[in-house]
C-alpha cells in the first residue's frame, strides 16, 4: 500500500512548479489574457524544453514516456499558474490520438514535433466528414488559430489535415477565461484526399478523451487550490474592525469549508489517473465522475474564495478572477458536470 505520488513524481511536480513560477508569472498570464489573440508563442517551446509537451509520448519518439499520473500533475500545476496553454487538448488529447493511430513515419514525425514543442496539432472531435469530404463548421476548437495541423476524428477514424490546406477558415472566439482560446473552424468541402489517413479506432479515441477529461479536472483542482492559497494569504493580512479578517469565523469557516472539499479531490484525481494508466475498466465511470466532481467543487471553491477578498475580489486588479475564470473553462469543456454525471451513471447503474 502506497497511495500517493512517488518521489520522482514529486520531483516532476516541483520542477514544473518552479519553471511556471519563474517564467510564467502572473504578469505574463495577464498579458496573454488581456491580448486580442490570446496567443503565447513562446510557451510551447519552453514546455517542450522541459519535456512537458512530451510527457505522454514514447521515449523512442523524443518524449518522456510517462502516464496520466504525471500528465495530471502537470495539468494541476498549469491550473495553479493559469498557464496560457490548452494542455488537455494539445498535449494530452492530440498525442494520445496520434500515438494510437497507425500512420507510420508521419505519425512518428508528428509525435516528435509535439514532444519538442514545435508542432501544435489540434484535435477536432466528431469532425464533419461525409462522402469523402470535410465539409462543415466546428465550434469551440482549442488553439485552432495557431495550429500547424488539424487531427480530424470521426467515428474513431483519424485524418490529418495540414493547416495550410486551402478551404480552412478560422475565426477566433472570445473566451471569458482569456488564458485559453477556442475558435470556429469551417472546412469548405475539402476533399479527404488532401488529408492523410492515420487509421484509428473508437476505443482509443474514448480513452484519449478520458485522459483529456482527467487533465481538465486536474487543471480546475490546481486553480481552486491557488485561489484558496491567495485568499488565505489575504485573510491573514487584511484588517477590518481592528482585527485580521481571518480571525472572524465567518471568513475562517469559508476557507475551512473550501479546504475540506478541495483536499479529497486530489486523492480521487490520483486514483483516476492510476486507473487510466493501468487500463482499468473503472475508467469508464471514473473519468466523467472525477471531472464532474472536481469542477463542481472547484466552482464552489472559487465562488467562496473570491468573497474572502470582499470588494477587491471583484476587481480586475486582484488575481482571484483569473482562477475563477480558469475553473469556468475547465468546467464547460469536454462535458459539464451535469452531463458527465449522467454519463457516469449510465455506466455505473446500467
Amino acid at each position: 500500500m502506497d497511495f500517493g505520488l512517488t518521489q520522482p513524481q514529486e520531483l516532476l511536480r516541483d520542477s514544473i512548479a518552479r519553471f511556471l513560477a519563474q517564467d510564467v508569472d502572473i504578469e505574463r498570464v495577464r498579458r496573454v489574457m488581456d491580448s486580442e489573440s490570446g496567443q503565447d508563442e513562446a510557451i510551447h517551446g519552453q514546455l517542450g524544453d522541459l519535456g512537458i509537451t512530451g510527457l505522454l509520448i514514447d521515449e523512442g519518439l523524443g518524449g518522456i514516456g510517462l502516464g496520466m499520473q504525471e500528465a495530471g500533475i502537470a495539468a494541476q500545476e498549469m491550473g495553479r499558474a493559469a498557464a496560457p496553454v490548452n494542455f488537455h487538448s494539445s498535449y494530452v488529447l492530440a498525442p494520445l490520438l496520434i500515438a494510437a493511430a497507425d500512420g507510420g513515419e508521419r505519425r512518428n514525425e508528428l509525435l516528435g514535433g509535439i514532444a519538442e514543442g514545435r508542432t501544435l496539432v489540434t484535435p477536432v472531435l466528431d469532425a464533419p466528414i461525409r462522402n469523402g469530404r470535410v465539409d462543415g463548421t466546428v465550434l469551440y476548437v482549442p488553439d485552432a488559430a495557431w495550429s500547424d495541423a488539424f487531427l480530424l476524428e470521426s467515428g474513431g477514424s483519424l485524418h490529418l489535415l495540414e493547416a495550410t490546406v486551402a478551404g480552412i477558415g478560422i475565426e477566433p472566439l472570445q473566451t471569458v477565461d482569456g488564458t485559453r482560446r477556442v475558435a470556429e473552424v469551417t472546412f469548405s468541402g475539402i476533399d479527404l484526399g488532401a488529408a492523410e489517413s492515420l487509421g484509428g479506432n473508437a476505443d482509443s479515441t474514448r480513452r484519449a478523451v478520458h485522459a483529456a477529461q482527467i487533465a481538465l479536472a486536474a487543471d480546475a483542482l490546481g486553480a481552486a487550490q491557488k485561489g484558496l492559497h491567495i485568499a488565505v494569504d489575504y485573510a491573514k493580512e487584511r484588517k477590518q474592525f481592528e482585527r485580521i479578517i481571518g480571525s472572524f469565523q465567518a471568513v475562517k469557516h469559508m476557507c475551512a469549508e473550501v479546504l475540506a472539499e478541495v483536499e479529497p479531490v486530489e486523492s480521487l484525481l490520483w486514483h483516476t489517473a492510476d486507473a487510466w494508466d493501468e487500463g482499468s475498466e473503472e475508467i469508464e465511470h471514473l473519468a466523467p465522475l472525477l471531472k464532474a466532481h472536481a469542477t463542481e467543487v472547484a466552482s464552489q471553491a472559487v465562488t467562496m474564495t473570491t468573497q474572502v477578498f470582499g470588494g477587491i475580489g471583484f476587481t480586475h486588479e486582484c488575481d482571484m478572477h483569473i482562477f475563477y475564470k480558469r475553473v469556468g473553462y475547465d468546467r464547460q469543456m469536454l462535458g459539464n458536470p451535469t452531463a458527465l454525471r449522467e454519463q457516469a451513471a449510465a455506466v455505473m447503474y446500467a
Binding site: K236, G246, K252, H253, E257, L259, P264, Y349
Partner: protein, 397 residues
C-alpha cells in the same frame, strides 16, 4: 501507485472468510438492514462482540496479557479486515466509548492493575462504558467544566452534573473528567476518573433525543464517593488523558466503509423504486458518489501517511466534518426516494429497514454536532490547517 495490499495478507483474508462462515449464525449484519426486538439485538450484538474479540478481530493490537490477540499495529491488516467484513456485509463489532475510546486511553495512561482488571471485559462487551465529559455549561468549551471532586481520605467526593451522556443507563462504568483542584488553572485541575454506575449518589435521568430514543442522559452527582485509586494517569493530568481519547473519537466518527455501505443501500432503494432511471435522482446520487469516492481515496492517502509515519497536516483534520455530513446527505436521499413512506418510523407497519434510515438521518445530525461541532471542526481546520489566527478573547467588560 500501489494500492494493493500484498499477498502476505492472503492468509489473513482466508482466515477471516472461514471465521465469517463458521460464525454466520451469530454474525451481525452491517448497514441499515439489521433491527427488530431491542433485547434480542443487544444479546446478539454482545455475543458477536465476544467472538470477534476472542478471534482477534476486535481490539487486535491489545497485548495478550490483557486478553487481546497481541498483534503489532498493522494498518494494512486492519484494512484487510475492514474490507472482508464490508464485502460480507458483516459488522465489525461494537465501536463505542468503551472499546473505541476508553481502552486505547487506558493502554496509554493506565496502571497495570487497571489494565488487567478492565480491558478484557470491556472488549468482550461485558463492561459497557459511558463518557462523562460535557456539562450543561461546558459543551464546545469543555475545559470550563465544573463537576468537582474533593479528596476525603482515600476517596473522592464528587458533586456536579454531566449531560449528553450516551448510553448511561445501559452502562456499567463511566470515565469522566472531573475538577479535582480548584485553583490549578482552567486545564490544570482536571482528573480523568473511572467510576461504577452503581455508585451511591449517582442519579441518571434519560434525555429523549430527536430520534425518539432516550440514548442521551443527564447524570447527577451528589456526594458520590469514588476510590482515589480510580484516577487514570496522574491527578491533574486529566485534560491530557481526556483529549488523547478525543483523537479516537474523531477516527470513530469517520469510517469511510460505513458511508459506502449506506450509499450502496441507497442505490438499492433507488433501484427498487425505479427512481434509478430518473435523471434528477441519478444526478443527486452521482453528486454523492463523487464525494464518497473522494473521501474513500482520501482515507487511503491518510493511511499511507500513517504507514510512512508522516503527518497528514490539514488532510487529517477534515475527516470528521466531511464524513458526518456525507452520512447525513446519503440518508436524506434514501428517505426522499421512499417518498411518503419516508415519514414512517420504527415499529410502524410498512416501514423500511426498521426505520433505520430515518433514525440514522437524525443520528447523523447528532454526530455533526457531537464530538466537536462542525463549527468547532472548521475552527480547527482554519487555525491548525490553514494557519488563520484565533479569534481574540473579548475584552473584559
Amino acid at each position: 501507485m500501489d494500492t494493493s495490499i500484498g499477498s502476505e495478507y492472503d492468509f489473513l483474508r482466508e482466515e477471516i472468510r472461514s471465521f465469517l462462515t463458521a460464525n454466520g449464525d451469530v454474525a451481525v449484519p452491517a448497514g441499515p438492514g439489521f433491527g427488530g426486538d431491542a433485547s434480542q439485538i443487544r444479546e446478539r450484538t454482545l455475543e458477536w462482540q465476544k467472538r470477534l474479540f476472542d478471534a482477534g478481530y476486535a481490539g487486535r493490537t491489545i497485548p495478550k496479557r490483557y486478553g487481546g490477540a497481541g498483534h503489532e499495529p498493522d494498518a494494512l491488516a486492519s484494512l484487510v479486515i475492514e474490507e472482508e467484513f464490508q464485502n460480507a456485509g458483516i459488522s465489525l463489532g461494537m465501536e463505542n466509548q468503551g472499546t473505541g475510546m476508553f481502552v486505547p486511553t487506558l493502554l496509554h495512561f493506565g496502571r497495570e492493575d487497571q489494565k488487567q482488571e478492565l480491558i478484557r471485559p470491556t472488549m468482550r462487551g461485558e463492561l459497557i462504558w459511558c463518557q462523562g465529559y460535557s456539562e450543561p455549561g461546558s459543551g464546545s468549551d469543555l475545559a470550563s467544566l465544573r463537576t468537582s471532586a474533593v479528596l476525603d481520605g482515600d476517596e473522592y467526593v464528587i458533586n456536579g452534573q454531566k449531560i449528553w451522556t450516551s448510553g448511561a443507563r445501559e452502562a456499567d462504568m463511566m470515565f469522566a473528567l472531573i475538577r479535582t483542584e480548584a485553583d490549578a488553572g482552567k486545564h490544570g485541575g482536571i482528573s480523568y476518573i473511572v467510576l461504577s454506575m452503581d455508585t451511591p449518589g449517582l442519579d441518571v435521568r434519560p434525555l429523549m433525543t430527536m430520534t425518539g430514543d432516550a440514548s442521551f442522559n443527564e447524570v447527577f452527582f451528589t456526594d458520590a464517593r469514588v476510590p482515589a485509586m480510580n484516577v487514570v494517569g496522574r491527578p491533574g493530568q486529566g485534560w491530557e488523558v481526556g483529549t488523547y481519547t478525543l483523537r479516537f473519537e474523531r477516527n470513530m466518527l469517520g469510517r469511510s466503509s460505513t458511508t459506502e455501505s449506506y450509499l450502496a443501500g441507497c442505490v438499492d432503494i433507488l433501484r427498487e423504486t425505479g427512481l434509478i432511471d430518473s435523471p434528477v435522482y441519478r444526478d443527486r446520487l452521482l453528486k454523492l458518489e463523487g464525494r464518497v469516492q473522494a473521501m474513500k481515496y482520501h482515507q487511503l492517502r491518510l493511511l499511507t501517511d500513517r504507514l510512512k509515519k508522516r503527518d497528514s497536516g490539514a488532510g487529517g483534520l477534515i475527516v470528521k466534518l466531511n464524513s458526518c455530513q456525507l452520512n447525513y446527505d446519503v440518508c436524506a436521499l434514501a428517505i426522499d426516494a421512499m417518498a411518503e413512506r419516508g415519514v414512517l418510523k420504527r415499529g410502524s407497519k410498512h416501514v423500511r429497514d426498521y426505520g433505520n434510515w430515518q433514525r440514522n438521518y437524525m443520528y447523523a445530525l447528532g454526530l455533526i454536532i457531537g464530538g466537536g461541532t462542525a463549527q468547532i471542526q472548521k475552527n480547527i481546520i482554519g487555525e491548525r490547517g490553514l494557519g488563520l489566527p484565533r479569534e481574540p478573547k473579548p475584552a473584559a467588560a
